[in-house]
């Protein structure tokens, strides 16, 4: 049985003349830590809001745990979410907010995982202070405590480090890291590429409301064109690679060579070097996700309205 937790199928959402999300599809399987990447206005938050039943798609369907999402649907009990910034009733304490939020749906506090949630938030005595006295980082940590009260199977995190200072960002990333190591399925939207690279196993890139590409993070990085190699005979390798039509701009870098791949695969380069009797020590994509992301967006913009990249197999 396929264990698809989130499934978005052909979803579109318009706001007046603006296509916020346009025929967008993707899915997240149990245990995946899935990054949703895109520039501001790409449609990430709108997509997450549709998944959480806050907005209705004009077309298509979003499913959670196999059932279509509707406002207030029962599957939401299995999801913990932070959409944009964590927000609370400001004149109530952190603890009061947690209790009121949990019991509002008719649940009993004894069923909440309060101890674990408070440990995660790590707010100490501040949990009894009014939320309006909290820093944004404290609110985000309280937001994590709130989403963990129900022992969710899926965490939906929309820009969870937005507006935080570097120290708070580090705290929140470590928190996400701890949760993912505990086996949570996570859908994380961010435009902090290093965050996605550090935390996520899979990612997709969206722009102008459409899918640009998706796959494992290493595949996405691997789709980039800059390749670094280390060989036992650098001069011979440089000469060989310079003659290969699928390779250009071969340059020395440190102990190895850097080149730009054209239409071809890294394995073609490895084969050529092997058949020339050159031992390959290292062959890897040199770009980080940030470079790949920018390349993909640039390619997407150049291709007009059509999605530019085929789905990268995961």
């Amino acid at each position: 049985m396929s264990d698809v937790i989130v499934e978005v199928e052909g979803v579109s959402k318009r706001f007046g003349e603006v296509n916020a999300v346009d025929d967008f599809s993707f899915s997240v399987e149990r245990g995946q830590v899935y990054g949703l990447l895109g520039p501001n206005g790409a449609g990430k938050s709108t997509t997450l809001r549709m998944i959480m039943g806050l907005e209705r798609p004009n077309h298509g369907v979003a499913r959670l745990f196999g059932s279509p999402v509707t406002p207030s649907c029962s599957q939401l009990a299995r999801v913990g979410a932070i959409v944009e910034q964590a927000a609370f009733v400001p004149h109530l304490s952190g603890m009061r907010n947690l209790r009121l939020w949990w019991t509002a749906g008719g649940a009993h506090m004894r069923d909440a995982d309060l101890e674990h949630a408070l440990a995660i938030a790590d707010l100490g005595d501040a949990i009894h202070r009014k939320v309006k006295t909290y820093s944004q980082g404290m609110k985000q940590r309280l937001g994590f405590a709130r989403l963990l009260l129900g022992r969710p199977e899926l965490l939906v995190l929309d820009e969870p480090t937005n507006g935080l200072d570097p120290g708070e960002i580090r705290e929140i990333r470590e928190l996400i890291g701890r949760l993912t190591h505990q086996g949570a399925t996570v859908l994380l939207s961010s435009h902090h590429l290093s965050e996605v690279e550090q935390v996520c196993s899979h990612a997709l890139v969206m722009n102008h409301g459409r899918l640009v590409t998706s796959g494992t993070v290493s595949d996405l990085v691997g789709t980039t064109k800059s390749v670094y190699i280390e060989v036992d005979d650098r001069a011979a390798a440089h000469a060989l690679l310079s003659r290969m039509p699928i390779v250009s701009n071969v340059q020395s870098q440190g102990d190895g060579l850097v080149m730009v791949m054209g239409d071809g695969r890294r394995s073609d380069v490895a084969d050529a070097l092997f058949h020339a009797g050159i031992r390959v020590e290292t062959l890897m994509a040199t770009q980080r996700l940030e470079d790949a992301f920018l390349d993909l967006l640039a390619a997407g913009d150049g291709a007009g309205d059509e999605p530019v990249a085929a789905q990268v197999p995961s």
Binding site: V79, V83, P90
Partner: protein
């Protein structure tokens, strides 16, 4: 539903604003009673108008005078604040989306918020009445009231203490119920905007416009549909010794507003994209 109501009540009642409103509703009637007491020593013809002219006869009549003075604006502003704030405050805090990311029915949530706002509006009306009653009884005691005739053409009448108490009770209920349309309108506006101040302003604005238009007699029967048209119908219990038929019509108009505007609010909120 009970859990939602408890949650909404805690959120609304624990605000500093609620305490300020309560103090205002206790303090203002007290000031009015002190003012009435000061005026009763003046020459008869300078003893105020309508219910205020009679109020110094008995502390049991003071609540009616205070309701008459406050229901035209102060209670409208307070009721508009409570109704207009109901959904929009959560939205302005950004908290609404978190409430709705749980399996909580939007209809139930809206009804809970409206119910709590309604309870607080009733509490405000009762509080102002009680404050006036206590202050009135302390300063004027509990006596029968003699309402004089007009120019000798229309006979006067007496109201016993028991009759006064009963009529004050009815007046309080009528005034509180008279805010039902405002509650529905405020709740509707509260679902439309994510800014509490806008919802409150629009709600109070509708009532002020309604009162202004209602004072233009050339508008004829159109005025009968205004939510404020029958607002003062209860005063005839004290000034004319009659239970006006207009009170019944006023109740029907309020119910009609609740049904129509309330249904619109529910439909709108149920389909709304939550972007705050």
């Amino acid at each position: 539903m009970i859990a939602l109501i408890r949650t909404e009540f805690t959120k609304a009642a624990s605000r500093t604003r609620s305490l300020v409103i309560a103090l205002l509703l206790i303090g203002l009637p007290t000031l009015i009673v002190v003012a009435i007491n000061a005026r009763q020593d003046r020459p008869r013809r300078d003893n105020g108008e309508g219910l205020f002219r009679l109020a110094s006869q008995s502390g049991l009549l003071v609540p009616a005078a205070v309701l008459s003075a406050t229901s035209g604006f102060l209670l409208i502003v307070i009721a508009g604040t409570l109704a207009g704030d109901s959904v929009a405050s959560d939205a302005s805090w950004g908290n609404l989306r978190y409430v709705l990311m749980r399996p909580v029915s939007r209809v139930r949530l809206l009804l809970s918020k409206a119910f709590v706002a309604g309870v607080l509006i009733w509490a405000a009306t009762i509080l102002v009445t009680l404050a006036a009653l206590v202050a009135g009884l302390i300063l004027f005691g509990a006596h029968d009231v003699t309402v004089p005739g007009i120019g000798g053409l229309v006979g006067g009448f007496n109201l016993s203490g028991g009759a006064l108490a009963l009529r004050v009770l009815i007046a309080t209920g009528y005034v509180a119920f008279g805010f039902s349309a405002l509650l529905a309108i405020g709740t509707l506006f509260s679902t439309i905007t994510d800014t509490a101040a806008s919802a409150i302003g629009a709600t109070v604005g509708v009532y002020i416009v309604s009162e202004i238009l209602d004072s233009i007699s050339q508008l004829g029967q159109v005025r009968y549909a205004f939510p404020t048209h029958y607002f003062d119908a209860w005063e005839t219990m004290f000034t004319d010794n009659t239970y006006s038929r207009e009170m019944v019509v006023g109740i029907v108009v309020q119910v009609a507003y609740v049904v129509v505007v309330g249904a619109a609010a529910v439909a709108l909120f149920n389909r709304k994209d939550i972007r705050s």
